[in-house]
């Protein structure tokens, strides 16, 4: 087994979020009609950081919401362990807003698909843009990110692990690690 | 027709013969008991290692014919009785129509004789149609072949009418069997009223429904100097009342069922409707008292209250499923397992409770004992055999037993009724 390799450290993550903040502002020509929705759990943390960056750059407050996509997952009845449903808190109307959807890792695209369905149940936004910290490829749906912190080419035998201080209580980092053989076998079994 | 039983350990109520003996049967009668009997051309049956009882007598069964032949018939019920080791059964009158006149008694006797597997004695009703209002023609019932009367399934609720029934029946020589359950106190409870019914939210039958009638009937019997036989006693308090009555010399006798000395109301927790029975399964304390009563003779005999019901009926919800369970085929196994193995009864006491006492109570002079000149009704039991109650082995038409799946010790090997083998285990 190869050692896990650190792709981003604390500073690199900070810089990536900051760059995405600039890109969001540039593309949307400021904060007018803008709002941010983070996908639980780490997307929500990144959404808060993004909002903070935007405040520092523009001096403007952008509303932030949290989305729990559990109930919209397409594999709800397939997975062994049933995920706990947590609250969604979007305390503003997203209709006619420009929504920046934030997640940590973009992989198959299924989470984003679920999030889009959920968002649309909340209202009819003017548009939805996607910001992710990591894009690791291997899409299974026609979904792409508008803002990417870092592209990391990976194999399916690898895991991308995002550590954020707010939820993990240790220093930020992004690590790529090999998946154990057991985990891979279990996956293969499921697909049969 | 003759039969020779070799190497029999004979268990009579008064004595267990340690030495194996031979029993010669001719024309339905035991003609000779002794060692080394030989008889040319006689069918020989070797009972070595088995226990040989006088034919068992069940004073309380429901054969359902006429009226509910879908549950049981005299034929299927007789087969179940023979398999259970019984040679005489008293069948209760809550058939459709009720056994309240000579014609029905005769019809039952005729069919039972045709089947010929067990001595069936119909119990006539105390009141016409068991409606609790007017007495039956008791002399007519007696003449037709009844030995006892009962409104079983119901209590004679009207105390004055019960008094009159006791007085009138005494004159006929018939004795009364009371189903003890005050109908108002009972209130159609579906299980024992107590901690378990509270948790399960099922309507409870408070034990006092039984004991107030036990008390009433004891007082009536005392006052009238009459006999009363109390059916299927289920409570500690009933045993105490009967013990007291007997100590006073009151002519009371009583019976108890295997399920009441085996199961408690905890069994209802499964909501298995086969545990729904009337009187209901009671508490551990009651079970222990019933055993104690059987041990000291307060309870005279063991009966099955064999009550067949169809699977469809028992598949209903607990409130609506009918009361009752079958019992003929498990009585010996449960008695040996729960009473003899646990040192509650000796083998001779088992012979007393299951044969001699019921014969005495019912007035069957030549039954309940193995002796020269007695009827050749014999039950041979393997005391060591362990077997499992299996649904597919039940020969009764109905299979409503909560004991299915249970392992029992003690099995009927052979039943002989009137000198004829009516059951032989394979």
């Amino acid at each position: 087994m190869t050692m896990p390799s650190k792709i981003l450290d604390h500073d690199a993550i900070r810089r990536a979020v900051s760059r995405v903040a600039h890109e969001v502002l540039e593309k949307n020509k400021g904060t007018g009609g803008l709002c941010i929705v983070g996908i639980r759990t780490r997307g929500a943390v990144l959404a808060e950081r993004l909002k903070e960056c935007i405040r520092q750059i523009e001096g403007a407050e952008v509303p932030v919401g949290i989305l729990d996509i559990t109930l919209y997952r397409d594999d709800l009845t397939l997975i062994d362990t049933q995920p706990v449903v947590r609250e969604t808190s979007i305390h503003f109307d997203i209709t006619d807003k420009k929504v920046v959807l934030v997640d940590d890792v973009l992989f198959t695209g299924r989470t984003i698909r679920a999030a889009l369905d959920a968002l649309i149940d909340f209202g009819r936004p003017a548009n939805i843009q996607l910001a992710v910290l990591i894009d690791r490829g291997h899409r299974e749906l026609p979904i792409r990110a508008d803002y990417v912190g870092k592209n990391i080419p990976t194999s399916l035998n690898q895991n991308v692990k995002v550590v954020l201080e707010e939820v993990d209580s240790r220093a930020d980092e992004v690590v790529v690690e090999e998946r154990s053989k057991e985990a891979r076998d279990k996956d293969a079994e499921k697909k049969k | 027709m003759s039969l020779l039983i070799k190497n029999a350990i004979i268990i009579n109520a008064d004595r267990m013969h340690k030495e194996p003996q031979d029993i010669l049967i001719e024309k339905g009668t035991i003609v000779k008991i002794g060692k080394g009997i030989s008889a040319d051309g006689t069918k020989v049956f070797d009972a070595a290692g088995k226990l040989v009882f006088p034919g068992l007598i069940d004073m309380h069964v429901h054969l359902r014919e006429p009226g509910r032949e879908d549950k049981e018939t005299i034929e299927t019920g007789s087969r179940a009785a023979a398999k259970g080791g019984f040679t005489t059964v008293l069948c209760m009158p809550n058939t459709t129509p009720v056994i309240d006149n000579a014609m029905i008694v005769e019809a039952i006797l005729k069919e039972a004789r045709r089947v010929g597997l067990v001595n069936v004695i119909p119990v006539g009703a105390i009141t016409r149609g068991q409606n609790g209002e007017e007495l039956t023609d008791m002399f007519e019932l007696k003449q037709a072949g009844c030995l006892a009367l009962s409104d079983d399934g119901k209590t004679v609720g009207n105390s004055r009418l019960m008094r009159l029934a006791m007085e009138y029946s005494r004159m006929t020589g018939l004795f009364l069997i009371e189903h003890c359950q005050d109908p108002d106190l009972w209130c159609k409870g579906v299980m024992n009223e107590g901690d378990v019914s509270t948790v399960l939210g099922l309507k409870g039958d408070p034990g006092i429904s039984e004991t107030v009638i036990v008390g009433r009937d004891i007082e009536l019997a005392r006052y009238l100097n009459a006999r009363i036989h109390l059916a299927h006693m289920s409570l500690k308090r009933s045993v105490e009342l009967i013990r007291f009555a007997k100590s006073q010399g009151i002519a009371v006798t009583a019976e108890a069922c295997p399920h009441h000395f085996t199961l408690t109301d905890e069994a209802v927790k499964t909501f298995d409707t086969n545990t729904k029975v009337n009187p209901p399964l009671r508490t551990r304390e009651d079970v222990d008292a019933i055993k104690e009563g059987l041990k000291d003779g307060t309870i005279d005999c063991i009966v099955t209250d064999h009550a067949p019901h169809t699977a469809e009926e028992k598949e209903m919800d607990y409130d609506h499923a009918p009361y009752g369970m079958i019992g003929l085929e498990t009585a010996v196994g449960l008695t040996v397992t729960e009473l003899v193995e646990k040192k509650v009864l000796s083998w001779t006491q088992m012979a007393e409770r299951m044969s001699a006492a019921p014969a005495r109570i019912a007035g069957l002079a030549n039954k309940g004992v193995i002796r020269e000149g007695a009827d050749a009704d014999i039950t041979i039991i393997d005391p060591e055999k362990v077997w499992e109650v299996r649904k597919e082995d039940i020969v009764s038409k109905s299979k409503n037993s909560p004991f299915i799946g249970r392992k029992l010790k003690g099995a009927v090997v052979t039943t002989i009724y009137g000198g004829k083998i009516t059951y032989q285990s394979s």
């Binding site: 109930l71 362990t81 049933q82 | 939210g201 209903m316």
Partner: protein, 317 residues
């Protein structure tokens, strides 16, 4: 949270652990939020079929379950005793087997006889949810009551709860007693002695006939519906006397703690177990109970129709 949800069915609160009850309450919080949205529907149980099998009238519970199932995108069918072949002599089990042959996923059953849900659960592959059986259990009512109290008072542990009325015939009381016991509340039941089940104190609760003392002590007062037929069946001299002796009105409530919570499983008999002012008053949470009922039932359906154990899953999806 790593509580495992291992039950195939929901039959009684008695069968649940403290942790499992808390999991339901926690999950229900999220569903309450869903019910507050403009689009009150999530696709979680899309493709699942839930049968409402009601052998006893109940507009409220059935509507609540149906709403819960629909908000989770499950399909629902209603079968009530009057319209089904049950009235034509079919056994309960037969009805259920027939339903299962149609590949349904869950049965929400209410029956006037205790134990019917247990028997169905034992014989069917489908999930069975008890929506009230006889006098024995009404688990979702107890769970929604716990949820409502937790929402109002922030905790259950250590609270003093009074349950007033016909305890003998109340499945709501029984399920709540189990729930409160497991979550550490102290329960006192109060009512006429003729309507107290024998040995109820052995469930670890107190029994009293003194409503005023109970009102003074309680943090939560749960009033049960008094069925009119209890008078007909001689359990009570009169409904009038019951109302005077055990009914809760403004006057009586003056002795209560400042933040007492008044609950009722509904439908209320105003003027009998409680006065209209109390039912509509500041302490009453009766309508919150109704609102929370949907959320709790969504949580129950979600937990039962999902698979295996429930725990937080993170990762690369």
């Amino acid at each position: 949270m790593t509580t495992e949800w291992t039950h195939k069915d929901l039959l009684d609160v008695k069968d649940l652990s403290r942790e499992e009850i808390e999991l339901v309450l926690e999950t229900a919080k999220s569903f309450k939020e869903v019910s507050a949205r403009d689009v009150k529907k999530v696709p979680a149980l899309r493709g699942k079929t839930v049968v409402m099998l009601f052998f006893e009238n109940s507009t409220r519970t059935r509507a609540s379950f149906e709403l819960a199932a629909k908000r989770l995108s499950a399909d629902t069918i209603n079968i009530s005793a009057g319209g089904s072949s049950l009235s034509k002599g079919e056994t309960v089990l037969d009805t259920a087997r027939n339903l299962e042959a149609m590949n349904i996923d869950a049965i929400v059953v209410r029956h006037p006889s205790s134990g019917v849900p247990d028997v169905l659960a034992r014989h069917l592959k489908a999930v069975v949810i008890n929506a009230g059986d006889g006098c024995r259990a009404h688990p979702t009512q107890a769970l929604l009551d716990l949820f409502t109290i937790k929402e109002k008072l922030g905790k259950i542990d250590g609270l003093k709860v009074g349950i007033v009325g016909d305890i003998l015939h109340s499945r709501v009381a029984r399920s709540n007693i189990w729930g409160f016991n497991k979550l550490g509340a102290r329960v006192t039941v109060c009512g006429p002695s003729t309507l107290m089940p024998p040995g109820v104190e052995k469930l670890g609760i107190k029994v009293t006939n003194d409503i005023d003392e109970l009102i003074r002590e309680s943090d939560v007062l749960m009033l049960l519906r008094l069925q009119k037929e209890r008078q007909e069946n001689q359990f009570l001299p009169s409904v009038r006397e019951y109302a005077k002796r055990f009914g809760v009105n403004q006057e009586r409530l003056k002795q209560a703690k400042k933040d007492i919570v008044i609950m009722h499983p509904g439908p209320t008999n105003r003027g009998v177990e409680l006065s209209a002012e109390v039912a509509d008053g500041e302490y009453s949470v009766i309508l919150d109970q109704v609102t929370n009922g949907v959320a709790v039932r969504m949580a129950v359906l979600y937990l039962l129709l999902g698979k295996g154990k429930s725990k937080v899953e993170e990762g690369n999806v």
